[in-house]
Amino acid sequence: MLMPAKTSHIQSWIQLQKGNKQALLEIYTQHYIGLMNYGIKLTGRRDMTRDCITQILLRLWDNRSKLPCIENVRSYLLTSLRRELIAEIKMEGNRSLKNRLFGESIQTTEAPYEEYIVQLQHNRELKEKLMNAIGQLTQREKELLKLKFFEDLDYDEIAAKCNITKRTAYNIIHQALKSLRLILVSTPPGNLIPDYALLGYLFFFFLPQ
C-alpha cells in the first residue's frame, strides 16, 4: 500500500492554522519518530529533544494565525527543532555539559544507522541476531531502511531523495525486510556470537571513521 502520509500532515497543519487544538496533538503524533530520532542523534539527549519538540509545537500554536502554508510539514519542523536545540545547547552555560554534548553528538552521528539501532536495542538475543543479519544487507538496502523507519519518511520523499520511483523504493525495502527475516529464521536461537566477539564488533564501530 503506497499511502502518501503527507496529505494527512498537511490536513493537520491547516487545522492547526484554524485553531483546532486536537490538530496540535495529531502533529505531535505524526512527527514523533522523525523529530525524536533527529534530535537524539544530533544531541545525544532524549529529554532535551522531547522538551524542545514541546516548545516548538507550543510556539506553533501561539503563532497559528501567522503560519505559512507549507508543502512539507516535516522539513519545516526539523528546521525549527534544529534551531531550538542549538539555542538550548548554547544557553547551557556549563562547560562540562557542552563538552559532553559535542562529544556524544560526534559519536552518534558518525555511527552508521545499522550500528545505531543495534546499539539502542536492549534485548540481547535480538541485538546479536540483528547485528549479524543487518550486516548481510547491501548499503542501498540499509540506507532505505533508515529513511523509511528511522527518519520516518514516506515513499514520495524517499523516491525523490534517492532518485528512484516510489515502486522501486517500496520493493527495495520489502526485499530488505524479507532477507532479514530469512536470515533471522535460519539463525539458531541462543548465543550465536560469543561475548568477546560482540564486544569486538562494537568496538570496531566506535573507531573514528
Binding site: K21, L25, Y28, Y32, M36, Q55, N94, I117, N123, D152
Partner: protein
C-alpha cells in the same frame, strides 16, 4: 484485507500495523489486539514483526511514546488554559464568573491535578514527597526550620508541598491563602505549588521575589552562599529582582536564574539595599544541569537524598557538606579551595565522600573535635 498470508515484512510495512506497534492510533491498537487473539498461529510472526519494527524506528516503545505524548498533552492543555486565563487576571472582577468560565477553571484544575499525579509517577525527583512519611502541616503565621543534616517535607494550608533542604527556614504569613499566598525563605526548598489563579503564590528571599500560579521549581537562597538560584522544572514563574528597578524576569521550564547574593542579612526590606543594588544587576539565566551518567537534574538531586556537584569549587562543595552532614570544614590552603569537582553521592557518609573526592584530586583531611574537618594540600 487478508492478513493471514502476511509474512513479517508485510506486517512491518502495513501502516495500520505500525500504528499498533507504537500505539499511535487507538483504533489500530484495538483492531490488532483482536486480530492477534483470533489468529494465535501467527503470533510468532507478529511478534517478530513488532520487534523488528520497533528496532528500526530507534527502539521507541509503546510505553515511552504514550508517556511522552501524555506529558505533551498536559503541557499543551496548561498552555491553552493560560491563554484563556490571561484576561481573568487583568480583570479583577470575577465575583460571579460565568458558568462556562467556571467549568473551564474546573477543567484546568483537574488537568493540573492529573499533571501533578502523573508528575509524581513519572518524575524521579518527585518521589521524596512520598518517601517522607512524617509530613508536617504548616499552620498560618508559623515558621518551620530544618537544622543542618536534616531535610523536611511540609504541606502548606493550600495543599502545596514544600521540601526543605538542610539548614533552611520558611516563614508563612498569618494572612496566607486570603488574597495571595506569601512566604519567606532562607535556604533551599523544592516547591510543588497547587494551581490557584486567584491567589498568586509568592516567595520572598533576600535577592528575589518569585511569583507563581502553579508549578514545580526549586529555590536556593542560602545567606552564606555567593549566589541564589531559582530553577524551574515545569510551568512558569515570574522572578522580581530586588533592586531599584524591580526588574521582572520570566523563566521557562528547564531554566534557572542565578543572582549574586547582596548581603548576609535576612530577607527584610531594608534601606541598605540601594548601594548594593548594582550587584543584583548581574543576574544570569542558564539551563538546568543534567547529571552526565543518568540525566537526572543536579539542581534537585538533594530531594532524592543525593548530593550532586557539577564542576563546583571545593569551597562551594564544603559549604554544602557542612549543611548536609552538620559538620564544619576549614581549609588551611587557599589553592585547595579552588579545586573543582563533579560528583554524585548516594547515601554516603562524609568520609566516603571525601575519599572519593581525593581520588579525583588529592588533598589531605583530618577529622578534629566537634565534627570539624580540616582540609590541607598534603
Amino acid at each position: 484485507m487478508n492478513y493471514t498470508t502476511f509474512e513479517a515484512e508485510d506486517f512491518i510495512l502495513d501502516e495500520s500495523f505500525q500504528n499498533y506497534c507504537l500505539g499511535t492510533q487507538e483504533e489500530d491498537v484495538i483492531f490488532w489486539e483482536e486480530w492477534i487473539k483470533k489468529n494465535q498461529h501467527k503470533s510468532v510472526t507478529v511478534n517478530q514483526a513488532k520487534d523488528l519494527y520497533l528496532s528500526f524506528i530507534g527502539s521507541h516503545t509503546g510505553e515511552t511514546f504514550a508517556a511522552d505524548r501524555k506529558a505533551f498533552q498536559l503541557i499543551a492543555e496548561e498552555h491553552f488554559s493560560n491563554e484563556t486565563a490571561e484576561p481573568l487576571t487583568s480583570q479583577p472582577d470575577f465575583r460571579k464568573p460565568p458558568a462556562a468560565r467556571k467549568m473551564w477553571l474546573y477543567a484546568t484544575t483537574v488537568a493540573a491535578t492529573i499533571a501533578g499525579i502523573l508528575f509524581l509517577a513519572t518524575r524521579k525527583y518527585e518521589v521524596p514527597f512520598e518517601n517522607h512519611k512524617q509530613e508536617a502541616q504548616l499552620k498560618y503565621n508559623s515558621t518551620e526550620v530544618s537544622k543542618a543534616g536534616e531535610r523536611k517535607s511540609i504541606q502548606l494550608p493550600d495543599g502545596s508541598k514544600v521540601m526543605l533542604n538542610a539548614g533552611s527556614t520558611i516563614h508563612i504569613a498569618g494572612d496566607f491563602n486570603t488574597a495571595s499566598r506569601e512566604l519567606t525563605l532562607v535556604g533551599e526548598a523544592f516547591f510543588d505549588v497547587v494551581r490557584d489563579t486567584g491567589r498568586p503564590f509568592i516567595i520572598h528571599t533576600s535577592t528575589m521575589d518569585i511569583k507563581v500560579l502553579g508549578t514545580v521549581f526549586n529555590v536556593r537562597a542560602y545567606p552564606g552562599d555567593k549566589t541564589s538560584e531559582t530553577s524551574l522544572l515545569k510551568g512558569s514563574v515570574e522572578v522580581t529582582v530586588r533592586n531599584k528597578e524591580k526588574k521582572k524576569i520570566y523563566l521557562h521550564p528547564n531554566e534557572k536564574i542565578i543572582l549574586p547574593n547582596i548581603s548576609d542579612v535576612p530577607p527584610v526590606k531594608n534601606s541598605k539595599v540601594t548601594d548594593k543594588a548594582t550587584a543584583t544587576e548581574n543576574f544570569k539565566i542558564t539551563g538546568l544541569t543534567y547529571n552526565t551518567t543518568d540525566s537526572t537534574l543536579t539542581e534537585v538531586s538533594w530531594t532524592e537524598n543525593r548530593l550532586a556537584f557539577n564542576d563546583n569549587s571545593f569551597e562551594t562543595i564544603a559549604a554544602e557538606l557542612e549543611r548536609w552532614y552538620n559538620i564544619t570544614i576549614s581549609f588551611t590552603d587557599e589553592k585547595v579551595k579552588e579545586y573543582r569537582f563533579t560528583a554524585t553521592f548516594n547515601q554516603k557518609n562524609i568520609e566516603q565522600v571525601l575519599q572519593a573526592l581525593q581520588l579525583s584530586r588529592y588533598f589531605k583531611y583530618t577529622i578534629a573535635e566537634n565534627n570539624n574537618i580540616i582540609i590541607s594540600k598534603n
